[in-house]
């Protein structure tokens, strides 16, 4: 229970990124420092989920005089913070959150993420205090058809990638004949570069439980599964604990809140297969089989888990539900663009200053996002070159398209897709041909092998693009890629194969000059493709600074003050550490 008399709280971000940044040590130090001063009783230390910004470690201190944000808090800072803030009531300026921090949060509209970094996910009472389970109460007193109508009216679309209207899915499942139905939450967040689902599950697991229970009531299901990838051990732990607590409080189980409606929920752990994010493959995996997709129709809404009507929604979609029920469809649809309503969480990473999760209304432009909360490029001197959006199913967009509004329709028009919301910012040091190859390597490895276009077609594309990056590219390779890509797009069995050529198609469309440089000049302008690099110092560009010397792991660089650096090719392992370090791009 929250001790009501304690108003003073120390919030420590303790999700996966918090843990990796050392939040546990920081927490321990706070405990020690409070004890040392004999003020342990006055303060409550709360391990909250990640707030979304990657800063090691984020700590908030809340007392009568307000709330103060600290960033980059190391264990050795805790003593100073305790001295000045906890004991002395004076802000410790050294670790005070700066302008970038403010900019990151100021420009967001946090709905799905509203509880992340604010409440202790292990304490159900904190969730309840933030209007938790109020939507469930409201929903249970409303006819199921009306709930579905509200979700339809809100305009909520699937946040997992394809953007299918959620309300319609609900309606199809409800109307499908059968007494036994299921609700499945797709938490198999496999897209490299997306981590919003993990943060929601870790930081606000009850919002997913509440959303699923409402969905279960609306479609007439008595049982639900959350299929979570095994790479997220902390999320699975938080979720399992939250389910137990919700059962204890009567929000799950038999006769929920005396309504007569019963709903059970269990977590199913994935076993490492990207294709299981595809709904029919996911169903096969829950049933204990190899996760291979089957043709649709029949859609899972009609014939899903164990052949029964099944509603499958993504984590972020489900997490929106309680807000829609509580505040109404009109409130939700007032946000966003004409056809894409509400907000979307993006995972911003790569060469951008502020990396982390950003929630903004649909229709925000790429520029507003990357240069707003994102804070622009990490390295002031580097220039924005492109952004990869939507993971292996998405595409790379160039700077000319920075003013594209982020909604399903506008992104589809560019050849990229919304996808799950991964967004990787790139500068001159990223080779677009290499990025296309990277995604092909990924989809080839993750293809389940069931259909020929995906199994063989992607492999052929991968072989050709490998020739290009290794300096053996020919003009006809481009024509081959342009021919093969749409063929796979149109003929593959599932979404994985249908969208896998997108990274190649978008880079061909927007960065054709880079392909040409690889093929015609046998050069990688971004100095990434190692087989096209000589690993020699260009003496016209070298400023004799010696920065390359200490980063070389194989002792291959010779340098003396006021002399050009030299690379010993026998020792060089082509790791590119020197290239990344050189400010003058003098290593070719």
């Amino acid at each position: 229970m929250i001790k009501k008399d304690i108003k003073k709280r120390i919030l420590i971000c303790s999700g996966t990124s918090g843990v990796s940044a050392g939040c546990e040590k920081v927490r321990k130090r706070f405990e020690d420092e409070l004890k040392k001063r004999g003020i342990s009783g006055d303060w409550e230390i709360v391990s909250v989920g990640d707030r979304g910004l990657f800063r090691d470690v984020l700590v908030d201190i809340i007392d009568d005089s307000g709330r103060v944000n600290y960033e980059y808090v190391a264990p050795e800072d805790v003593e100073n913070i305790a001295d000045s803030h906890l004991a002395g009531g004076k802000v410790y300026r050294e670790r005070l959150a700066g302008d970038d921090y403010k900019k990151f949060f100021e420009k967001q509209t946090r709905i799905v993420l509203s509880n992340c970094g604010e409440i202790d996910p292990d304490k159900i009472e904190e969730y309840i205090a933030s209007q938790g389970y109020a939507a469930l109460k409201k929903a249970l007193g409303t006819p199921a058809e009306e709930i579905i109508e509200q979700v339809k009216e809100s305009g909520l679309k699937g946040r997992g990638g394809a953007g299918f209207p959620a309300g319609l899915k609900w309606e199809f499942t409800r109307n499908a004949p059968g007494d036994e139905k299921y609700v499945v939450c797709n938490a198999d967040e496999g897209d490299p570069g997306a981590f919003m689902d993990r943060s929601i599950l870790e930081g606000d697991p009850h919002s997913v439980i509440e959303g699923m229970t409402i969905a279960g009531y609306a479609v007439g299901a008595g049982e639900g599964f959350i299929y979570c990838r095994a790479e997220y051990p902390l999320a699975i732990k938080k979720l399992s604990r939250a389910i137990t607590l919700a059962e204890k409080e009567g929000f799950l189980g038999d006769n929920i809140l005396g309504s007569g409606f019963s709903f059970r929920l269990q977590v199913k752990e994935g076993a490492g297969a990207f294709v299981c994010g595809e709904e029919t493959a996911l169903i096969a995996s829950i049933e204990g089989r190899r996760g291979m997709p089957v043709p649709r129709p029949p859609f899972p809404a009609v014939e899903g888990l164990w052949g029964k009507p099944t509603l499958i929604n993504n984590v972020e979609t489900i997490a929106n539900v309680r807000h829609i029920i509580l505040k109404g469809a009109e409130w939700f649809s007032s946000m966003g663009s004409e056809k894409s309503k509400g907000t979307k969480v993006f995972a911003l990473a790569g060469k951008v200053k502020n990396t982390g999760l950003v929630e903004v209304p649909m229709g925000t432009t790429l520029r507003e996002l990357i240069f707003g909360p994102g804070g622009g490029m990490a390295d002031r001197k580097s220039e924005f070159k492109g952004v990869q959006i939507g993971g292996p199913s998405g595409g790379c967009l160039p700077s000319e398209l920075l003013d594209t509004p982020i909604d399903y329709e506008s992104l589809n028009a560019t050849g990229a897709i919304m996808g799950s919301g991964g967004m990787i910012v790139m500068d001159a040091g990223s080779c677009m041909v290499d990025i296309a190859k990277f995604f092909l390597d990924f989809t080839v490895a993750e293809s389940c092998g069931k259909c020929v276009p995906c199994r063989v077609g992607l492999k052929r594309m991968q072989e050709v693009i490998s020739l290009i990056t290794s300096g053996e590219g020919r003009e006809e390779h481009i024509a081959f890629l342009k021919d093969m890509a749409p063929t796979i797009k149109n003929t593959a069995l599932c979404g994985l194969g249908n969208t896998a050529p997108s990274p190649v198609l978008t880079t061909l469309r927007y960065f054709a000059d880079e392909y040409n440089a690889h093929i015609r000049e046998r050069k990688c302008p971004s100095l990434v493709c190692t087989e096209l690099l000589k690993f020699e110092i260009n003496e016209e560009l070298c400023k004799k600074c010696g920065k390359c010397l200490p980063v070389c792991p194989s002792d291959a660089i010779r340098w003396k003050k006021k002399e050009f650096a030299r690379i010993d090719k026998d020792k060089c392992i082509k790791c590119r550490a020197c290239i990344n370090e050189c400010p003058f791009r003098a290593i070719e």
Partner: protein
């Protein structure tokens, strides 16, 4: 895998799942968490007890990347090869570790200390490039920081 107690553990795990549908994957996950991999003998016992063909079990084991059919080194090194890590140097990190340890992706060192594998995405993109050793995440890695880490683990064992 030669002592009898080991095998009885397999039977114990099977009992917990006998009447549950769709339980083959969690059952194999439990077996793996006990042994560190799924031993051939365990596959045979499961097949016999649950009256399924061993091939169906191998089908699962080879389909999902998280199952291992051989013992792995003591410390599991996972090198993230997600998009953000790729852009920030994940490939170089994997290359370095592979050179330094003398093993490729999916192999263990001869001394049995390390097992190296590439993973698609660990979901810590903001700290790229990321390397995970056992349960510990290491963010913003450099070749220098990895060299130190490896030395630490080596000296511990």
């Amino acid at each position: 895998m030669n002592s009898k107690t080991d095998l009885s553990k397999v039977n114990e795990i099977i009992e917990g799942y006998r009447s549950k549908k769709g339980s083959l994957i969690p059952l194999l996950q439990d077996i793996q968490s006990v042994f560190g991999y799924v031993p051939e003998e365990a596959v045979n016992i499961i097949a016999r007890e649950l009256e399924i063909y061993p091939v169906d079990i191998y089908g699962i084991l080879t389909f999902y990347s998280q199952f291992y059919m051989e013992p792995r080194g003591k410390h599991i090194i996972r090198v993230c090869q997600g998009t953000a890590c790729h852009v920030m140097g994940g490939k170089e990190m994997l290359g370095f570790l592979s050179d330094e340890l003398g093993i490729e992706d999916g192999e263990s060192t001869k001394d049995g200390i390390f097992f190296l594998e590439r993973v698609a995405c660990l979901g810590c993109c903001g700290m790229a490039p990321v390397v995970m050793i056992d349960d510990n995440f290491h963010g913003r890695c450099t070749i220098g920081s990895l060299r130190k880490l490896i030395e630490q683990y080596r000296s511990k064992d």
